[in-house]
Amino acid sequence: MKALDRPDLIYDSQDRGNLPLAELREALKYRHLIVQLIRRDILTRYKRSVLGIGWTLLNPLGMMLVLTIVFSQIFKFATVYGYPAYVLSGLLAWTFFAQTTNAAMVNLVWGGGLLNRIYIPRASFGLAAIGTGMVNIVLSTIPLLFVMLITQVPIHPSILFLPVSILLLAAFALGVGLLLSTMAVYFPDVAEMYQIVLTAWMYLTPIIYPEEVLPESIRFWVTHLNPMYYMVNIYRIPTYYGRWPTWPEFLAALAIALVALIVGWIVFSNKSDEYAYRI
């Protein structure tokens, strides 16, 4: 009866302690589960398609092609380098954010009721969603580099900053995803509402247009008060602009990511006992 007296295997429902810290401990303990969930998401997404994971590379290219044809013909945006790499770099950062936050929410609320059957850390779903998105954004950076080569956008050593950019994006997306999950557990309509918010938010962020086209009157609002402006930029600067971010650019993105992550994690884990009651 080896394990019976191991203190870490005694569960006491009254011993709640610090919920955010407890959730962090449990998530670390279940890290193998999170890896398996990421594996599952990636393997099953394209399991029946012929090109398989190739779609992760083709999808953003297709989007870029459509947007390039539409916008370079109609609006003739002036960008530093070619428009294709500009729009693709913005799209990759945006798609990462939109998909992972949505997946974090959907996996928890409609996660097949796993939560109702067996104990697993509640944050596993959000963490796995972000992990899946990180694999995807790393893969889809390959077509970006390819497009940059073709359209003669110079690639600089600043590209080495990209892993930091992706981590910052991931931290921000995790925080927002956990906040959304908490809200969606109480009000399932949040999931539907969020789709509309995402569409509006995307057009309010300089992704498919350069920020210079915005009239002075609204430019301040769209850029400085929009956290996604900083997050998209932190991905675009080391790739498309080919330079290291300045300290203010980096610190702004870092602060936004950390605040979102900490607030999201605390709100989410403080409500984590409620989920099994409501889902």
Binding site: Y11, Y30, R40, N116
Partner: protein, 262 residues
């Protein structure tokens, strides 16, 4: 006689007695069932401001006290909707009680719904790893027991085929094999002795028997009174979320039967 300052008293103030595997103290679970569905956030806020959000509070369990000893095979009986599953969820850590306290010592393996985390598009092998980590194991631990799991499920020929090609019996066998290859201290069995064909049923019954011999605490839920009476030592009868009787299995089953409409 012990005095308060006696060190032995301090020991007895441990959360629960050392011979207890499960200790449930005045545990209650309350679900909030809204009287009418409030479909949107906006409407919810309007009604909240008007004070019109009405919930019907429903106690799925009320003031349940229960103590299951180490190495005991304990039966839970009661009609549908009595709160048996809710009680199992409290023990499996899925739900935290609204009121009261639940203490469980050791590793719990819930056979609540085996194969719950299985994914039809993944192969048997991938699903063993996925389900193993859901049960809290590391990759290396699953590596070590992988052969044993597939041996028991008798699925070597299909282990690299996607689960959607499995029959429901094969699916259940794999689920049972993963969920019981766990070396648990507390095993929760919910009406699951009827997995697979007859020979597999014998095998799974033998595995549960082996657990019992090793001194694993087993909590068994069944509507089959013969099963309960033949396997369990003690039992509890739940009805409408309340504990009606606890005691020797024969007494509890007899009491329960006397009160059921025929």
């Amino acid at each position: 006689m012990l005095t308060v300052s006696d060190p032995k008293v301090a020991v007895s103030r441990l959360p629960i007695g050392l011979d207890e595997a499960i200790h449930i103290e005045k545990a209650s679970v309350q679900y909030r069932v809204p009287h009418e569905r409030i479909p949107t956030f906006k409407e919810y806020m309007i009604r909240k401001l008007q004070g019109k959000v009405r919930h019907h509070l429903f106690w799925a369990l009320k003031d349940v006290n229960l103590s299951v000893h180490r190495g005991e095979v304990f039966g839970l009986i009661g009609p549908n909707g009595a709160g048996k599953s809710t009680l199992l969820k409290l023990i499996a850590r899925v739900l935290r009680p609204t009121e009261g306290r639940v203490v469980v010592r050791g590793r719990v393996s819930p056979l609540l719904e085996m194969g719950a985390g299985f994914h039809a598009e993944l192969t048997g092998r991938e699903n063993v790893y996925l389900n193993g980590t859901i049960l809290g194991f590391t990759r290396r631990e699953i590596d070590a027991k992988f052969d044993h799991i597939v041996d028991f499920a008798e699925l070597w020929d299909f282990i690299d085929a996607p689960l959607r090609t499995y029959s429901s019996g094969m699916w259940a066998r794999l689920g049972f094999a993963v969920a019981t290859d766990v070396d648990p201290d507390v095993l929760i069995v919910d009406e699951l002795l009827s997995v697979g064909d007859e020979s597999f049923q014998r095998k799974s019954a033998a595995r549960i028997e082996a657990f019992r011999e090793q001194g694993v605490t087993i909590l068994l839920v069944s509507h089959n009174m013969e099963t309960i009476a033949s396997i369990c030592q003690r039992a509890a009868w739940l009805e409408h979320g309340k504990l009606m009787a606890v005691g020797q299995v024969a007494d509890v089953v007899a009491e329960y039967r006397k009160n059921q409409p025929h």
